[in-house]
């Protein structure tokens, strides 16, 4: 038997297609594996650094995040809450007052984060500067 008939009868087309695909696939896989060997080796050689990085990350990052969160917007009470908390304290002071007096009275009453709280009240124009280093409470806020 000759010709295309012989190829078809002996499953030649399928053998050629499957065989070529297998050898290609095998070498592609081997190619991918060997292209990563040096990276894996580098990773293995630097394993202590990598492990310590993973270990340090939470310790190093969390306090920062906490700090940001504490001193940022999330943990600090809102301006309204601060007004509510600080108004009774300010009423004890004579106007105009100095910020140091506000700080002292806040500390005496165990107010959290007095510096930031006072700063925030100042930024929100609740504490109004008089221009001579003294402040007054803005009743309209």
């Amino acid at each position: 038997m000759f010709g295309l008939e012989n190829i078809t009868n002996h499953n030649g087309w399928a053998i050629a297609a499957v065989g070529a695909s297998i050898v290609f696939m095998g070498l592609v896989v081997l190619c991918l594996v060997i292209s990563q060997i040096h990276r894996l080796l580098n990773l293995w050689e630097d394993r202590e650094k990598v492990i310590s990085r993973f270990k340090q990350k939470p310790a190093a990052v969390k306090p920062q995040e906490t700090a940001e969160m504490v001193y940022g917007d999330q943990r600090l009470p809102s301006v309204e809450q601060l007004i509510e908390a600080y108004k009774p304290l300010i009423e004890k002071l004579e106007e105009p007052f100095k910020l140091s007096q506000v700080f002292e009275i806040a500390n005496e009453n165990d107010m959290p984060h007095p510096h930031l709280s006072i700063q925030r009240l100042q930024e929100a124009d609740v504490l109004v500067a008089q221009g001579d280093g003294t402040f007054t409470w803005n009743e309209f806020k």
Partner: protein, 375 residues
């Protein structure tokens, strides 16, 4: 007394020879000429050529002399060929001699070794087209891998009666690389492409070289377990070389063992070309298809390299595709020489060796696949 003399003369080679023996003796002399004077693959052509001379000296059959006669010395030596022992040993030596660092530095070149194997499958179809039986067609097709030991190994398993012509065809075309490949390379590449310079390969660590044979044997042999006798030995040889603790074994594998196997392999393959067995129309067909297989393999590598360049940012020199056939180091050398001819500062040898070594792996996988298809 005269009777005795005539009886002796009737048993001499001069009396028993016919024209086919003389043809083969001339072929043997041509091989010896090419090997010694032209230095075309002398390590192969010299033992094969001499084997052709020995195998084609006519003798009186039945004396246990010829390679095909049981209990003859040559028959015992030939055992290593018919069982696939010599090719496996040669592969171990080859592994112990091969430096895979260029391949590890540029793994993408491995794809060229895969592409060049397409010649095998095209030739399989061609051989079936010309009426060869499937097992014979597979054995002929593997010539496209341009790997003598692999061709012999697969033929010994599938079509042992064709070992002679297939081995001779495979080794002949390997020796004729300087004649066959350059015209195809010039035909399928432009001057601009031939001038592409490859970046220097990165340095490869000792650990990478050590891991490669393990990864290679596991990945390839799990995929094609029938390639174990070849790839198992190839990667064993390479591991001996790279592990650095068995230098004695590695040195022996890459010198004494491979040399011994090559001598017996070449010599017995040469002897197997007895005129009455070798000079048949089938042999002519095998030589024709072998040339086709080798040419298609070269062309496949070149074309695939050009296709890769369509997608790659850093272009590769398409000449390297021709080194995807596993004729180590002949085709890499030819690629290097052609690159130098175009630009004396373009050195492609190590890049070519990367393709070459992937071609060796690829053709062994192909042999395993074909064997498993026809078991």
């Amino acid at each position: 007394m005269f009777d005795l003399l005539f009886q002796f003369l009737a048993n001499t080679g001069y009396y028993l020879a016919d024209y086919r023996n003389y043809i083969m003796l001339v072929v043997g002399c041509v091989f010896l000429y090419l090997g010694t004077a032209k230095k075309y693959e002398p390590l192969l052509l010299v033992p094969i050529g001499f084997g052709i001379l020995v195998g084609n000296i006519p003798f009186f059959k039945g004396f246990g002399i010829g390679i095909y006669e049981p209990n003859s010395v040559l028959h015992y030596l030939y055992f290593g060929v018919t069982t696939g022992v010599y090719p496996s040993i040669v592969f171990m030596g080859l592994g112990a001699m091969t430096d895979f660092s260029s391949l590890l530095a540029q793994p993408k070149l491995m794809l060229l070794g895969a592409a060049a194997q397409m010649g095998i499958y095209f030739t399989l179809l061609g051989a079936l087209f010309f009426g060869f039986a499937p097992k014979e067609a597979a054995s002929i097709a593997i010539i496209g891998g341009a790997d003598g030991p692999t061709s012999i190994f697969l033929t010994a398993k599938l079509a042992p009666h064709l070992i002679g012509p297939i081995a001779i065809a495979a080794y002949s075309y390997m020796a004729l690389i300087p004649v066959i490949q350059p015209p195809i390379m010039r035909l399928l590449t432009t001057k601009k492409e031939r001038l592409i310079k490859m970046p220097p390969a990165r340095a490869v660590s000792k650990k990478e070289l050590l891991i490669f044979p393990i990864a290679g044997v596991l990945l390839c042999c799990f995929l094609a377990p029938t390639a174990l006798p070849l790839l198992g030995m190839l990667f064993l040889g390479n591991f001996l070389k790279e592990c650095g603790v068995v230098n004695r074994l590695a040195n022996t594998a890459q010198s004494a063992i491979i040399d011994t196997a090559t001598i017996f392999l070449g010599f017995t393959v040469g002897c197997s070309t007895q005129a009455d067995v070798f000079l048949t129309p089938k042999s002519l067909g095998i030589f024709f298809l072998g040339a086709v297989a080798f040419s298609i393999a070269t062309a496949s590598g070149l074309i695939f390299a050009k296709i890769m360049n369509l997608f790659l940012k850093d272009k590769i020199n398409p000449l390297l595709g021709a080194a995807g056939v596993s004729a180590v180091p002949g085709s890499a050398r030819e690629v290097h020489l052609m690159g130098l001819k175009e630009d004396p500062t373009n050195f492609l040898l190590m890049h070519g060796m990367a393709c070459n070594s992937s071609g060796v792996i690829g053709s062994a996988i192909c042999a395993g696949i074909l064997w498993s298809f026809f078991i």
